[in-house]
Amino acid sequence: MSETETLLEIKDLEKHFSQSTGWVGSLLGKDKAVRAVDGVSLSLDRGEIVSIVGESGCGKTTLGKSLLRLIEPTAGSIEFHGTDITELPDDEMRDLRKEMQIVFQDPFQSLNPKKTVRQLVRQPLEIHGMSRTEAEARVVDALEDVGLSPVSDFLDRYPEEMSGGQLQRVSFARSLVLEPSFVVADEPTSMLDTSIRARVLDLMEELRNERDLSFLVITHDLSVARYLSDRVGVMYLGRLVEIGDADEMIMDPKHPYSKALIESIPSPTPYEEFDPADIEGEVPDPIDVPSGCRFHPRCPVATEECKRIEPEWRMVPTEGDASRYVECHEVDPKHVPADPQPQ
C-alpha cells in the first residue's frame, strides 16, 4: 500500500438527546440529556476498515448517523478530506453524501415499502443526476455483487416480498452504487448465512483494495470484526474505550470491558454452555453516567481513583507491534500513581 492518507478525523464528537419528562417537566426545564455519544475521537485512513464493537445501546448507531449528519451532532468536529463538515450548509452536505454512505442497521425499517428494488437502488443515482440507462447498468452490477442474482428475479419486487437477508443486501447495494469513498455499515451481515456473509465480506475487501473505499463497520459479530478489519474499536456507554490492531485486540484486549466482551464470544460448537463474563451491577444508563471512569461500577479491577477521576485516553504498550489506545487507569501499571498494591 502507498502512503496512508487520513480520510476522516473526528474530534470530541458528542450527540446528546433530550429525554422528555412530559410537558410539565419540560416547562420546569427538567428534561434530561441522554448522552448517547459522549466525546469520541477517531481517525480513519483512506482504504482502511475499522470495526466498532460494544454493548447493545452504547451509542454505535448514533455515532454512525452523526458522522454523516443524518442526526446533528451536539458538539465536536468531523473533518472529511480535511474540511470540517459540521458547519457545512445543507446543499453542500447533500452533495457530499455522494461520498459518504450508510447501510442502516434495520433493513425492514429503512427501505421505502412502496418502491421496487430497482427504484430503491436507482434512487441515489438519480438524485445525483445520472441518466436512466447508465443508472440501470449500475443497479444491476450492484445487485449482482451482493449475490442477488439472477438480478431479473429481484428488480421488480417490493420489500415485503423479500426475506430479511435479501433486504439487507438491497440496502448494501444501495449504499455502493454511487461509488462513495466512505461507508458506515451498521450490522451489514447480521441477517446473512455464513456463506453469503463470506461473499459480502470479500466484496468489502475487494472494494477497499480496488477503490480505496473506507468502511466504519458496526458489528456484534467479533469474528467479522477480526476477519475483515484493520483495527477494532470498543465502545462503552458513549465513549470509545479502546482501539487497536484487529488481531491483537481479539487476542490481547486490555480494557476490562473489552476483556469481558471478548471472553464471552461463544465457541462455534454445540458443546459448551453459554458462559458470559460476569459484568455485575446496574445496566448502564446514558442519562445518569457514573462519575470518574464510567465503567467503574461494573469493573472487577476498579479502585478508588476510578470512582473519582476520569481516565485519560493514552497509548499503552502491548505484546504486538501495532499501537494501542486505552481509556483506563488500571491497564498500564507504570501509570498507576496512588499507592500501588504489592503483587
Binding site: 429525554q19 464493537v53 460494544g54 454493548e55 447493545s56 445501546g57 454505535k60 448507531t61 442497521q105 434495520d106 433493513p107 425492514f108 425499517q109 449475490g147 439472477p150 428475479d153 421488480d156 415485503e160 416480498e161 426475506s163 430479511g164 435479501q166 450490522e187 447480521s190 441477517m191 446473512l192 448465512d193 455464513t194 456463506s195 453469503i196 456473509r197 463470506a198 461473499r199 465480506l201 470479500d202 456484534h220 467479533l222 469474528s223 467479522v224 470484526a225 477480526r226 476477519y227 481479539i250 466482551l261 464471552s264 464470544i265 461463544p266 462455534p268 460448537t269 454445540p270 458443546y271 459448551e272 454452555e273 453459554f274 458462559d275 458470559p276 463474563a277 459484568i279 446496574e282 445496566v283
Partner: protein, 340 residues
C-alpha cells in the same frame, strides 16, 4: 378439545409434542398469475415441551415463511397450500386467522425478524406489553407495572425503558423489549426469528440463558431461527437445515455439527469463522439458489453441489433416515460421501 379449551386451558403435560408440523407447504402469489413462489415445500418437524428446534439455512430459503405459517401470520400474498400444523393436538391450519389471534401471547408467541416492526411507534413499551397482559388477564391490573419491570430486567434492560418510545431505543434494546413481550404471558410455544441479531455477545448470552432457564421452569417449546450458528447450536436440541424451501437435514445439534449428512449442511457449517483462529479466506458456496418460482424437479442444491450426479437432477431424494437412525434424517443420494 373444543376451541375455547384450546384458547384458555393448558393441557396437562404429556409426551405428545406441543408442535407437530407435517408436510407444510407455503406459497406466495406474485403479480404474474401463472407463477407462485414455492417458499416452503413439504416441511416436517416436531417440538416437544421443554425442547427447542433451531432452523438454519441460506438467506431466502424459507425459514421465516415456516415461522410465520405456524402462527398464520403470513402476508396477504402468502398461504398454506398443503400440510398441517398441530399445536397441542389441534390443526391450526383449519382455524380462522382471527381465532389464532386469540391465543397469541398466552399460548403461542412470536418474536418477528426485525423485532423493531413488532412495536407501534406512538406507544410506549409499557403500554404495549400491558396490552398483551391485559388481553389474557394473566396478572391483576395493579401488579402489571411490577411485572413489566421484572420482564425488562430479565432481558437486561433498565426498568425505566418501559416509559420510552420505540424510536428512543437502540436496535438491540428494541429487540430485547420484543423478547420481554413475547414471554410476558408465559406461552406454551415460543417462535423466535433472529431474536439476537442486535445484541452483543455478553447480553446475548445472558438473554439466551434466561430463555433456557425459563424454558426449564415453564416447559415450553421453542422454534428458533438464526444465522448465528454458535448461538443456535447451544440453544437447540435439534437442528433443521433448510435449503431453497426444503428441509434437507434434521438431527440433534451434535450430529449436525459432527456428522452432517447433506452437503449443504457441511458447507454452511464449514463457512463459520472462528474468531480465535480466523482463516485467511472463508469459503463460500459458489452459485446461487434456484428461483423458487420455478424450482428444478430434482435436488434443489444439485447445481451447486460437488457431489451431484445425474440422478440428483433427475429426481428429488427422499428425506430419510441416515446412519440407520430415525433421529437423523437427510435428503441426499450421496450422504456417505459428505465430509466436514
Amino acid at each position: 378439545m373444543t376451541e375455547s379449551e384450546l384458547m384458555n386451558q393448558r393441557s396437562a403435560p404429556s409426551d405428545e409434542p406441543i408442535l407437530s408440523v407435517e408436510g407444510l407447504t407455503t406459497h406466495y402469489e406474485t403479480d404474474d398469475v401463472d407463477s407462485v413462489v414455492q417458499a416452503a415445500e413439504n416441511v416436517s418437524f416436531t417440538v416437544s415441551r421443554g425442547q427447542t428446534i433451531g432452523l438454519v439455512g441460506e438467506s431466502g430459503c424459507g425459514k421465516s415463511t415456516v415461522g410465520l405459517s405456524l402462527l398464520r401470520a403470513l402476508p396477504p400474498q402468502g398461504s398454506i397450500v398443503d400440510g398441517s400444523v398441530y399445536f397441542d393436538g389441534q390443526d391450526l391450519t383449519t382455524f380462522k386467522k382471527k381465532e389464532i389471534k386469540k391465543i397469541q401471547w398466552n399460548r403461542i408467541s412470536m418474536i418477528y425478524q426485525g423485532a423493531q416492526n413488532a412495536f407501534n411507534p406512538v406507544k410506549t413499551i409499557d403500554t404495549q406489553i400491558r396490552e398483551a397482559l391485559a388481553k389474557h388477564d394473566v396478572v391483576p391490573k395493579n401488579q402489571r407495572r411490577e411485572r413489566i419491570e421484572e420482564l425488562l430486567q430479565k432481558v437486561d434492560l433498565d426498568p425505566g425503558v418501559a416509559d420510552r418510545y420505540p424510536h428512543e431505543l437502540s436496535g438491540g434494546m428494541k429487540q430485547r423489549a420484543a423478547i420481554a413481550m413475547a414471554i410476558s404471558c408465559e406461552p406454551d410455544l415460543l417462535i423466535a426469528d433472529e431474536p439476537t441479531t442486535a445484541l452483543d455477545v455478553v447480553v446475548q448470552a445472558k438473554v439466551l440463558r434466561m430463555l433456557l432457564d425459563l424454558q426449564e421452569e415453564f416447559n415450553f417449546g421453542m422454534v428458533v431461527i438464526s444465522h448465528n450458528l454458535a448461538a443456535i447450536m447451544k440453544v437447540s436440541d435439534d437442528i433443521g437445515v433448510m435449503y431453497a424451501g426444503n428441509m434437507v437435514e434434521r438431527s440433534s445439534a451434535e450430529n449436525i455439527f459432527e456428522d452432517p449428512q447433506h452437503p449443504y449442511t457441511a458447507k454452511l457449517f464449514g463457512s463459520i469463522i472462528d474468531p480465535q483462529r480466523p482463516p485467511k479466506q472463508v469459503e463460500n458456496i459458489p452459485g446461487v439458489p434456484p428461483d423458487l418460482r420455478n424450482p428444478p424437479d430434482g435436488c434443489r442444491f444439485a447445481d451447486r453441489c460437488d457431489l451431484a450426479t445425474e440422478e440428483c437432477s433427475a429426481q428429488m431424494p427422499a428425506f430419510e433416515p441416515k446412519n440407520e437412525s430415525t433421529e437423523h434424517l437427510a435428503a441426499c443420494f450421496h450422504s456417505e460421501e459428505v465430509s466436514r
